[in-house]
């Protein structure tokens, strides 16, 4: 029976609460009202504020094309752009809150981008308005994305609109030729297309990947925390890799072009091409290697003597040639041959090396598979072709992916929803614990419980039970409000409930400690509200934590609501696995355990004095 005392006390507390409208309104309804107000403010008001009411000053020291693009981008974000020529003038307006932020454009932005692919844009914000700053950064990142698109999109559009279809056409043609043996009629067209590709500057294609890579690195190193967070979502290697593949494909196709140009006069059947070439080389090198330096000198000397016989042979072989043509070709042949023989006579030792090199070339030609080359080209082009259009035109994906949500949900109210839950739990548990203990002590209920053989551990246990029950009701109401009224994204409702109940125990000990140092209900309420307010301010529940000063961020590590918010964030937004929540679960457990122990030991049954 005595083991069930916490349960009996807890159930009786709940019965009392159910019969006491004032307590219900204070503990359960008030946080819900707060949630409704906060939710409405941030889900409706903030959205309007974000989209229509931002006034952003743009300082242009000189008129530049990029600054114009930037202004246009800001306007496209539905914000109001106010153009200034002088930064000081803009800063005065920012101080007077005539504008919400200033964007200062590098005076030499056009020149720097053209030459160095690097420039700067400064954002001036009012640090006393952190939420506004967050909204401005979002707007600016979106605007900056448009600028970046303008810088790099031009190159990539060329790839998509001109090069990729051309390359595809080549590959298809080559494939048809290999499989259908129609080389003779197609080869001229192939060479035209390949020639056009070869005319493209290799450096342009290569520098594209380097430019994109450099841009991403720059944001990693110099971007705002929000930009860095967003850029971390980009698959950088995929973008850069795609552009590098393009460079690789081009070099392969250029090789094919030069190769075809060389062999085109002799091609009859593409499948026979490598073997035919190899045979010619074998024949050539075999003949060359059979001529000794001595023979070469003799041949060199004999050629003028044999001139008439050579001319007769050429005339006989080419009956259509005129006498003059025969004479010209005879001279040419004798001179060429004499030159070759002269080389053999002078550099006899190199002949062997030449032969060896030619043998290697023959082996290489033997190994060439045009079918394989086409397959590789197809694969590379398939990779390029499979890239989505917006992915290619916007390789640096700066915004559009909020930190925790999918594409659809990126409202500020979604960001703060775990904080609202944490606030509800903190408020109800802390206020209820402190108020009920102090009131019971003032009314002598604790004294009577003591005489009824209830020990402090049973009483602490009963408070945990009651608080968990209150939190359960609270979370159900909050979840219903969040989903039905504001459409807030909640990944897993049962998990949210479990985490919320666990979190509630983390605040009971703190409530007991406060109740031990307060004597009256007025003191208790004042202390509870003060504690709730301080913790909300330090933990950054209602605004992006990253915007807090470092001292506040350090202080937040020592208060439980930080971990409760993180835990609920993991459960509500991220749908995190158990391992990802371990730190927060452990910290809440340690905090809850220590404060419960301290609260139980400091617990007073009687009024002081």
């Amino acid at each position: 029976m005595s083991r069930l005392k916490p349960l009996w006390i807890g159930l009786t507390d709940l019965r009392k609460i159910a019969r006491e409208r004032r307590t219900i309104s204070l503990i359960i309804i008030l946080p819900v009202i707060v949630v409704l107000v906060v939710g409405t403010t941030f889900s409706l008001g903030y959205q309007e504020f974000e989209s229509r009411e931002l006034a952003i000053g743009v300082v242009q020291h000189r008129n530049s094309s990029y600054a114009e693009v930037l202004v246009e981008a800001i306007v496209n974000q539905s914000a109001q752009a106010v153009v200034y020529a002088d930064v000081e003038e803009a800063r005065i307006d920012l101080i007077r809150e005539k504008i919400d932020s200033i964007i200062e454009v590098d005076p030499w932005i056009d020149e720097k981008i053209a030459e160095f692919k690097r420039s700067w844009i400064a954002i001036h914000t009012d640090e006393t308005r952190p939420i506004l700053t967050a909204a401005i950064e979002v707007t600016m990142v979106q605007a900056k994305q448009q600028v970046v698109d303008d810088m790099v999109g031009e190159y990539v559009l060329q790839i998509q609109e001109a090069l990729v279809p051309a390359l595809n056409r080549i590959v298809v043609t080559l494939d048809d030729m290999v499989s259908g043996g129609t080389l003779g009629t197609e080869v001229e067209e192939i060479l035209d297309v390949l020639g056009a590709i070869a005319d493209l500057d290799d450096e342009d294609v290569l520098s594209m990947s380097a430019t994109v890579d450099e841009g991403i690195r720059d944001i990693y190193e110099n971007g705002t925390p929000q930009e860095r967070a967003i850029i971390s979502l980009i698959d950088r290697s995929a973008i850069v890799g795609s552009l590098r593949s393009l460079a690789d494909v081009k070099s392969v196709l250029d090789s094919i072009y030069h190769f075809l140009s060389y062999v085109e006069p002799h091609l009859q059947d593409i499948d026979e091409l490598p073997g035919e070439l190899a045979g010619d080389l074998t024949y050539f090198t075999g003949n060359i290697s059979s001529i000794s330096p001595g023979q070469a000198v003799i041949i060199q000397a004999a050629l003028p003597i044999l001139r008439d016989r050579i001319a007769d042979a050429l005339a006989e072989e080419n009956p259509s040639w005129s006498v003059a043509q025969v004479a010209e070709r005879t001279t040419s042949l004798i001179q060429g041959t004499q030159s070759l023989m002269g080389t053999i006579a002078e550099r006899g030792s190199d002949i062997a090396n030449l032969t060896e090199n030619l043998d290697e070339a023959r082996e290489y030609l033997d190994s060439i598979s045009l079918t394989g080359l086409i397959s590789e080209a197809r694969q590379a082009l398939g990779y390029l072709g499979s890239m989505e259009e917006n992915f290619i035109t916007s390789p640096i994906y700066l915004v559009g992916r909020p930190l925790y949500f999918g594409e659809e949900t990126k409202r500020y109210v979604d960001y703060i929803s775990p904080g609202i839950f944490a606030f509800g739990i903190l408020f109800s548990v802390l206020v209820y614990t402190v108020l009920s203990v102090v009131r019971d002590r003032e009314k002598g209920i604790l004294r009577r419980l003591f005489t009824c053989n209830v020990n402090r551990w049973s009483y602490v246990g009963s408070k945990c039970i009651t608080c968990m029950a209150i939190s359960a009701i609270q979370i159900v109401i909050l979840t219903a409000c969040a989903i039905l009224l504001f459409g807030i994204y909640i990944a897993d409702v049962p998990k949210t409930l479990i985490l919320g109940l666990y979190s509630s125990v983390g605040f009971v000990g703190l409530g007991l400690l406060i109740s031990s140092v307060t004597r009256t209900e007025l003191e208790a309420v004042t202390a509870s509200f003060g504690m709730v307010f301080i913790m909300l301010m330090i933990s950054g529940v209602f605004y992006p934590f990253e915007l807090s000063p470092s001292i506040i961020r350090q202080a937040s590590a020592y208060i439980p609501i930080t971990y409760v918010t993180n835990l609920l964030k993991a459960g509500i937004i991220k749908d995190a696995a158990a391992g990802e929540m371990l730190v927060d679960v452990v910290m809440i457990g340690i905090y809850g355990g220590v404060t419960l122990l301290a609260g139980a030991l400091a617990f007073q049954w009687r009024k002081k004095g």
Binding site: M1, S2, K5, W8, I9, T12, R15, K16, R19, E20, K443, G444, I445, R447, R448, L449, F450, T451, C452, N453, V454, W605, R606
Partner: protein, 316 residues
């Protein structure tokens, strides 16, 4: 009842000292309460009555000295002792949002009353208190007297051997006071419960208690039956409504040191009723007319007598 043998002793306190933050709330208390008696602890506000009850119930740890309640140390064997003891705190400490019967069931369950007996006992107790008709009404709708009865009942539900009552009748009107006094006497006589109660009202103590201890500034200044204590304090003649301007004349007519100023008049210590009659006649002859004249022992006087010197009150 009386001093009692060792086996009849319900409470034995020896040299009890309790300090709070350097202040001695109880200073060397010696007490012995017998089983079955109603024992009153009388004293002014701040005399240490509630602290003594707290020490007896184990809520306050003695600084020095020893306490045995029903043969047990209230601190070391508190769990065992609380099942045998009922404590009625000074304030009505009940759950206002629960009904009278629910309060009894709640505290009965906490006092480890067996589940199969709990409902029967609660109903029997509330019937004993005369509140059967109101048993299902929430306590917040009860009168002060009714709440007080439930307050008592919640301390009786587990049928204790000893009942410790702190300020049993404080703040009640005469009707409720009479009800509560009757209830305490009924419980002690019918149920055989030992009762220790504190009060600052000597009239209540005289009417209810078998024996008394007068507590002043943390010390017991007198112990015994009412008759013994009042005899020790002595009787006197009370003169009400005498003009203060006549005090000099009055002083000339009575023995030095026997005249004391009391609220509303003067008191003259005398040894017999005969002396009182003679003095009354003397005063009349000397033109000292009092609006009220009475002779006897008033509880307030007993108390005053026992604490005057210590309080430093002036003697005329």
């Amino acid at each position: 009842m009386g001093d009692g043998s060792a086996t009849d002793v319900a409470i034995e306190v020896r040299e009890l000292v309790v300090n709070f933050h350097g202040v001695e709330a109880l200073r060397g208390i010696d007490l012995r309460v017998c089983r079955g008696e109603i024992f009153g602890i009388v004293g002014t506000n701040g005399a240490g009555k509630s602290t003594l009850i707290d020490a007896l119930s184990g809520m306050v740890r003695p600084t020095s000295g020893s306490i045995k309640v029903l043969g047990r140390d209230p601190i070391r064997r508190s769990g065992e002792l609380r099942k045998l003891t009922g404590v009625v705190p000074q304030e009505v400490s009940l759950e206002e949002k629960l009904t009278g019967l629910e309060n009894l069931l709640y505290f009965g369950r906490l006092l480890d009353v067996p589940g199969d007996e709990l409902k029967g006992r609660a109903e029997e107790t509330i019937r004993f208190m005369g509140l059967w008709e109101r048993r299902n009404d929430r306590l917040e709708s009860y009168s002060v007297g009714m709440k007080r009865k439930i307050h008592f009942a919640c301390s009786l539900i587990h049928r204790p051997e000893l009942l410790l009552i702190d300020e049993a009748t404080a703040g009640f009107d005469p009707v409720i006071r009479e009800d509560v006094s009757g209830l305490i006497i009924d419980m002690a006589r019918k149920e055989g419960i030992t009762v220790v109660l504190t009060t600052h009202d000597l009239s209540d103590a005289r009417d209810m208690c078998d024996r008394l201890a007068v507590l002043h500034r943390g010390e017991v200044v007198s112990t015994g039956r009412w008759d013994d204590i009042s005899s020790a304090a002595g009787a006197g003649l009370y003169l009400g409504g005498i003009n203060p301007g006549m005090e000099g004349k009055l002083r000339d007519l009575v023995s030095p040191g026997s005249l004391a100023r009391v609220p509303g008049g003067y008191r003259v210590s005398l040894d017999s009723l005969q002396e009182a009659l003679e003095l009354a006649q003397l005063l009349d002859r000397n033109g000292l007319s009092a609006s009220t004249i009475s002779y006897g022992i008033q509880p307030e006087d007993v108390f005053r007598e026992l604490t005057t010197e210590r309080k430093g009150d002036s003697v005329v």
